[in-house]
Structure formats: C-alpha cells, structure tokens
C-alpha cells in the first residue's frame, strides 16, 4: 500500500476510535445551587423569609444590609411588615412610604446578594399584605397584579440568572418567577368578561426571556426551574393556557399569597 493510503486509513481509524470514545463522554451533572453548603456566616433556610412566617425572621436581615442603607431598611422593613387594612397594591406603592420602599428595593437589587435577597423578602411581604386580586367592584382590575408583578420582574431581570447559580438565591429566584407567573395570570383573568391578552403576552414574553425558551437554549434559571418545577415549564411550552403551570405551582408553594390578604 502507498504511504498516502496508509496515512489516510490511519486518519480514518483515529476518527473511528474518537467516534466510539466520544459516545462515552459523560454528561455534566446538574448541581443544584441550593444544595451547595457555604462556609462561614450565611442566611440559612432562605425560603422561611418568603413564607407566611417571614415576620419572625425578618429582623435577621438587618445585619446583612450595608451600614448606609441599614436605618432606612429597618424602618421600611418594619413598615412593610405592618401594613394594615390590606390596601390595593398600586395605592400603597404610590403613597409616600410606598415610593420610598420602591426606591430602596431598586438599591438593594443592585447590592450584595444578601441585600438582593432582602429586597425580594420585602416584595413578597408586600404581595402578602396588599390586595392585587380584583374584587367584583374593583375599577383598576389588572393594575394591582401588574404592578406587583413588575416589582418581581425587575428583581428577576437583575438577579434571576445569577441568582439561579447562587446557593442563597436559587430557591427564592424560582419562587419569584413562579409568583410572577401567578400574578400575570391574575392580571390576564382580571377583566369581568374575557381576558387581558396584553398581560398574558407580557407575562409570557418575560418568562420566556428569563427561562430561555425563546433562544432555544435554557438559562440557568430555566434549568433550575425545570429541575424543580418541570410541570410549570411543560405547560409553558405545551399548554394552551401557558401561565397555568406557574400559577398552579405558586399556589402550591405559597397558598397564603392570595392577593386578598386572607392568608
């Protein structure tokens, strides 16, 4: 055989061996961020801060807030956990205290991960203490749910993707996107007759961007969501009512987040 033939066959043999070897390449394991145990002082069991008993542990957050923001945080945290009479969300956020809280939330979102977490705790508390589900006689029927959802969307855009890989923020980020889906579905179903297609489409678009359905490549948050709430993602891509999975999962996780302060 000619040298060229031998070289060619050797190249082919190498490729065949590589082809068999390639099949044995292991798939990378999915490491769930919240399973990573961090060294040193940390916020343990972060989901307790988002649950019904958040008020019991909320003061623990103060020590994680930067000194220049701490006084404001303490004051506004206290305020958020003592909202009385279940006001409408828009009404409360547009009040002087609400505007101060909204500004603080913006600052905290851009701060350390503990501060970002603290901001999410305040948003969840607001969702628990204000009315965003329209009653029969409500006028601005979808505005409350939309406004509450926008607070979560802001947080998710700023911290959702990085949070999905963070042991502290992974579970809260998932909770945030599920509740966001629930709020947008509530806004969608707010009209007395028919549905609000704008809210539905807005909610879908935001969620698709956050989980990476649109690009065909899932984001870390989408990945994390698929691992823990596959039904929500399945319905997102394959159900006629695409936000329903998020709504259902959020209701299961946070039955007290009813939008009517009756939890």
């Amino acid at each position: 055989m000619e040298k060229r033939t031998i070289a060619g066959l050797a190249a082919a043999a190498t490729l065949v061996v590589a082809a068999i070897g390639a099949r044995m390449l292991p798939a990378p394991r999915v490491i769930v961020a919240e399973d990573v145990v961090e060294e040193g002082p940390r916020i343990v069991e972060p989901m307790q801060f988002l649950g019904k008993g958040a008020a019991l542990r909320a003061p623990e957050l103060d020590e994680w807030i930067a000194a220049e923001r701490k006084p404001r945080f303490k004051a506004l945290r206290d305020l958020a956990f003592h909202v009385a009479d279940c006001p409408e969300t828009v009404e409360w956020i547009d009040s002087a205290e609400g505007q101060r809280l909204e500004r603080l939330l913006g600052e905290l979102r851009g701060g350390t991960r503990e501060e970002a977490f603290a901001s999410l705790v305040l948003v969840f508390q607001l969702a628990r203490a204000t009315t965003w589900k329209p009653g029969f006689l409500s006028q601005a029927r979808e505005a409350n749910a939309e406004r509450m959802a926008s607070l979560l969307a802001d947080w998710l855009r700023a911290r959702g993707e990085s949070g999905a890989r963070d042991p502290l923020l992974a579970e809260p980020a998932r909770a945030a996107i599920l509740v966001y889906g629930r709020l947008m579905r509530t806004a969608q179903q707010s009209p007395r007759i028919g549905e609000n297609a704008g809210s539905y489409q807005r909610g879908l678009k935001t969620i698709e961007e956050l989980v990476g359905i649109d690009s065909g490549r899932r984001t870390a948050l989408g990945e994390s969501l698929q691992g823990r709430h596959p039904e929500a993602l399945r319905k997102l891509v394959g159900d006629a009512d695409r936000l329903r999975g998020f709504d259902d999962e959020a209701r299961t996780l946070f039955p007290d987040l009813s939008g009517e302060c009756d939890g």
Partner: protein
C-alpha cells in the same frame, strides 16, 4: 479536461472511510441545554454493531459475497462495517420499546437481506431509506422531548378538549407513543435540540456518503484486481478475453472476491463457455443463411433474417 487527477478505487475507499469516521464522531456527540458536550451512549452503537456484523456475515456467506483479498479490500469491509454500525446507532431511537421495534425492522430489511448480485451493493438504497426514516423519527421525538412533550404526538379529544374546565385535563388529550427522558438518553440539563440534531443529521449524511463511496470503490477495486490478472496474458489474448468477458459482467460471473488461483480458473472456464456459445451461434447463423435470401421475404421474419446476416433493413430503419 479536468484539472483534478482521476480518483483511484483505493483513494475512494480511504475517503469513504474518513467520511465514515467523521460521521460516526458527529453521531456520537450531543450538546446539552447549557452548551456542554457529551456522548450519546454506547447502547445504540452496540446494537448497530451487532446488526452490521449480522449483515456482513450474511453477505459473506451468501453466493454473491466473497472475502476481501488484500489489505485495501479488508480496509473497505472494516470501513463498511463501521459505517453501517454508526448509521444504525445514530438512527435508532436511543432506548425503550421504540428502539426494539426498529431493531426488528432492521433485522428484516438490512441484516437478513442479501447483497444485490447485479450491482454488488451490499446496502440497498431501500435500507438506507429506512435508516433515514428512523433518523427523522429520532429527530422528531428529540424535538418533542426538548419541548418537554414526552409523546410522539398528542391528539385533542373533540368536544371534551373545548370545555374550559381544568379538571377535565386528563381526558382532554390522548397521548400517542409516550416515552421518558431516560429512554431518550438526554443529558440531565436537557438537550440543545438545534445543535444536536444538526450534528446527527450531518453525521448520518457523512456515514451514508462514506458507505456509498466505499461500496462503489470496492467494486472498482475488485475490477482493477481482475483486470490486472487478465493483463498478465499476452496483450492480444488479454484483449480477446476482455471482449469475451466485459467488465460489467465480472460481478455476475462471480469473479469478485475470489482468490487469485480460483479467479484464474473461473476466467478460464468463463472464456471457454463464451467461446463455445460463440461457435454455436456462428453455426446457427451459417445455417440460417442457407435457408434463403431475405430480399424476397417480407415482414417480421424478413427483418430478423436481415438482422442475423447483418444486412441493412429494407426500409432503412436500423
């Protein structure tokens, strides 16, 4: 005139083998939803190897199949084996009952089917077509899986599916051909459908192209070997032998794959047979000339007579 040198049969086999290697490599990889590369697993490859081995054994054992007689011939058979192995391994559903159903079909259509005696191709186009259909099916269920739909298709139940009550969900649709993520061999992070299926489709195309090239080059290579043996005769005798036994008929005459000694005997007996036939024909022709002139006959009979004696047709139509 082409600027490229003519491709030899050996060159074709080498190129085909390289194409098969590249195809196998592409079919062995997938990309997960995080963009990480991983393997598609050994199970389908093992089944592919088993079926390919069966196919080769059936062909070697059949009347038309012969053993390779030199290093290049052996390389061609090995390349063909891996080509078929990779193509089957890449086209099969990665696991579950679907895979075994496909295996049964392949056993019937690919493994147990004998090589085409006329063309010498041991993988028929219909078998490659079946593999292509399996690949399409695999791409489809991979797409369904990448969309988190774990069935081949879902059919809406008329009327019930139009009723907007959540509690009716379980009976609103009928899932046809369900499967699980485990059967699909998806990486834990999920599949990057677009990139992975592009790799598989390209890999399959490269494998099939490589197999076709190896097959046709192997036939050419065998013809070269027979031609080389005939050319050891004095040139005038070799010319007569090649006119008596045209190259197109060498495979049908069973000359391919024979060891040199048996090949020489087979050529000798084939030449003797052809010469006997030519003699018989010549005698018959001479007898027919004695039967009379075709000029005074008409119709089909006259035309045939004229054709046998090599005369021009009466109406000038040839």
């Amino acid at each position: 005139m082409s600027a490229l040198p003519e491709r030899s049969a050996t060159g074709g086999i080498v190129l085909g083998a390289i194409l098969i290697g590249v195809g196998g490599l592409l079919l062995g990889l997938q990309v997960d939803a995080n963009g990480a590369w991983c393997g598609t697993g050994l199970a389908p490859l093992a089944i592919g190897a088993l079926l390919a081995l069966g196919a080769i054994a059936v062909r070697v054992g059949s009347s038309t199949g012969r053993m390779p007689r030199d290093d290049v011939g052996i390389a061609a058979v090995v390349a063909g084996f891996f080509g078929l192995t990779f193509a089957i391994g890449g086209a099969l559903a990665p696991g579950g009952p679907w895979m075994f159903f496909e295996v049964l079909l392949l056993v019937a259509v690919v493994t147990l089917r004998k090589a085409d005696a006329r063309t010498g191709r041991w993988i028929a186009p219909s078998a490659l077509g079946l593999l292509a259909v399996f690949l399409l099916f695999r791409l489809w269920i991979s797409y369904q899986g990448s969309q988190l739909r774990w069935q081949v298709m879902s059919v809406d139940v008329p009327v019930v599916s139009w009723i907007p009550f959540d509690f009716l969900d379980p009976v609103k649709h009928v899932a046809l051909g369900s499967f699980t993520p485990l059967e699909m061999g998806f990486p834990p992070a999920g599949l990057d459908f677009a990139l992975s299926t592009t790799l598989w489709a390209l890999g399959f195309a490269a494998c099939v192209a490589g197999m076709m090239l190896v097959q046709s080059s192997t036939i050419e290579h065998e013809n070269d070997r027979i031609h080389a043996l005939i050319r050891t005769l004095p040139p005038s005798v070799a010319d007569v032998v090649e006119r008596l036994l045209p190259e197109d008929e060498w495979r049908e005459l069973g000359l391919h794959g024979l060891p040199e000694r048996r090949l020489a005997r087979r050529i000798e007996s084939a030449v003797a047979e052809r010469v006997r036939r030519q003699d018989a024909l010549r005698r018959a022709l001479e007898q027919s000339k004695m039967l009379g002139n075709s000029a005074d006959a008409d119709g089909f009979s006259a035309d045939i007579r004229r054709a046998l004696t090599g005369e021009d047709p009466k109406d000038g139509v040839r």
